[in-house]
Amino acid sequence: MVMPSGHPQPGTGQVQGENELELINRGNRLDRNPLWAQSLIHLVLIVLTLITLLPILNVVAMSFSEAHAIYSNPLMIIPEQFTLEAYNYIFATPILLRSFMVTAFATVVGTSFNLFVTIMGAYALSKTALPGGRFLLWVCIFPMMFGPGLIPMYMLFKEIKLLDSIWVLVVSGLVVPFYLILMRNFFWSIPDELEEAMRIDGASDMGILWKMVIPLSKPAIATVGLFYAVGHWNDFFTGLFFINDNTKWPLQVLLRSIIIDMNALNMRGVGTAISQDSNKIMLTPENIKAATIVFAVTPIVLVYPFLQKYFVKGIMLGSVKG
């Protein structure tokens, strides 16, 4: 054992002769940094957290505030002169609700299809006895590394008449190779004995999958399902590339037009919803953009507790893959 050098810690000289529990307890005590270091660490973390949080709070506050309050206090984090005008405006905008419905369709129907196909595929791939299994796995993994590129995809969708169809949002990215592998690894962890027992009782592959594997895999399915669902909700590219008809735009594509391209007040092709011109002064593009952002983020906030729980789990599953 090397003797302590540099900064002798109190008590290190008496370590020998103590039992392990005491050593660990002492360890926990010694584990702490000096007070100044501990304070500095907390300070840095608080700053990082505020940098993340304050702009979001500011957007929320502005979405509920009147226009002149925004100009008098741009740094607000709680609403001033509370008003729902911005929300009245965006909810009276038919194109926004239409895009919301498109995205809701893609999220619900798309995620169901994703899960259905991914679960079946992953279950089959988890069987080591699968003939040609290694080759089939390669067929699924190769697209992660090399794809044909944007234009050939566009041509394909054009040829099979999926351009300008909301089904392209469901079909494109039906199986994500990474999630397929994640799911397969989870299925691997289910003991074979359970399956054999069911097989002896005469259960079919589908029966085993449905009655045993799926109920046992709920956490993994929830994880992958949430991955897919958030993917659909935030999907910007599929709509941008393959849907030109703005009545079928998913939410994110419309949002870009409203929030980024600043078409806030004349939301293109909308037939603006502001009828009472007297109210117009209460609204600015900033209000409307803020309200639109809040509108688009709300569903994410609602599922966030689950996201945090399951996504962390997913990362862990992913990082122990064999």
Partner: protein, 285 residues
């Protein structure tokens, strides 16, 4: 049988489109279709390599990726190390809950928040206006575009990217810390001699992976944050393919540029995996 839908999906949507790669070697005419368009050999590639735009695209893509790597890569590691020192659980959890959140926002929405702060009528300019100062243009300014891309990417992802390191940190044998303490190592020295070596395989792997995706400079982010004013410093291969191909319908050239990128990216990732496997860490496949 259960595998059939998955395989059909990949064959139809990942392998069949490769026939469209032929467009890169053709003078594509929409009314003739892919097969009947005349072959032009390497002409599209020649156009690509001799154009003035191409070196600029490549430089933008590689530079932005490198900046991300140099400035962005260490942030989640440092953040994870800091979090690891926190002993107050509710504080740790609050910090995590808030800093993970932006990961779940799309770039459209996060870009909206960015412009809400720095845009022409964003809060910074509102403040400057109140103070009687001149407005600054951060949103459409070639001088600040690359830093803007790097910083906003860090802000969006640093919390989330730290998770994988936090997971690796929990795998370190506590006895190593005990041993280091017995040897009188200060907390800082423990981090240097125990913590960092403990997560080094993870750091190495993620570093190689990010290095191998150097041609991905952040398509969605840059599409959202850029505008014609900053194309000189911010136009990357992906945004160019999108613009030239889908918006200007120059299919041949766009396919050629996309193919060029795809081939190099595939070579890089395969090399990376080979290298990771050789160093004895877990490989990707």
């Amino acid at each position: 049988m259960l595998l059939a839908p998955t395989i059909i999906y990949f064959v139809v949507f990942s392998y069949v489109p490769f026939y469209g790669v032929a467009i890169a070697f053709k003078k594509f005419q929409p009314f003739l279709g892919i097969w009947d368009s005349p072959w032009v050999g390497w002409q599209n590639f020649a156009t690509m390599f001799t154009s003035k735009k191409f070196p600029e695209l490549l430089a933008n893509t590689v530079l932005i990726s490198m900046y991300r790597l140099v400035f962005g890569f260490p942030v989640p590691i440092l953040f994870a190390l800091l979090l690891n020192e926190v002993r107050i659980m509710w504080f740790k959890r609050t910090v995590q809950t808030i800093t993970y959140f932006p990961h779940f926002l799309s770039w459209v929405v996060f870009g909206g928040i960015v412009f809400h702060v720095i845009g022409p009528s964003g809060i910074i300019n509102l403040l400057l206006d109140k103070l009687g100062m001149e407005a600054v243009n951060l949103a459409a300014n070639p001088d600040v575009f690359r830093p803007l891309v790097v910083i906003t990417a860090i802000l969006k992802e640093f919390g989330w990217s730290a998770i994988i390191y936090l997971a690796a940190l929990t795998g370190i044998d506590p006895h190593q810390y005990e041993a280091a303490k017995v040897d009188g190592a200060s907390r800082l020295r423990q981090i240097w001699h125990v913590t960092l070596p403990g997560i080094r395989p993870m750091i190495a792997m993620l570093f190689i992976l990010q290095l191998s995706s150097i041609l991905d400079a952040g398509f969605e982010q840059i599409l959202i944050l850029s505008n014609p004013v900053v194309y000189g410093v911010g136009d990357i291969i992906d945004t160019y393919v999108y613009r030239v191909g889908l918006l200007e319908s120059n299919y041949g050239l766009a396919t050629a540029v996309g193919l060029f990128k795809g081939v190099i990216a595939a070579v890089l990732i395969i090399t990376a995996n080979h290298y990771i496997r050789k160093t004895g860490e877990k490989s990707l496949w």
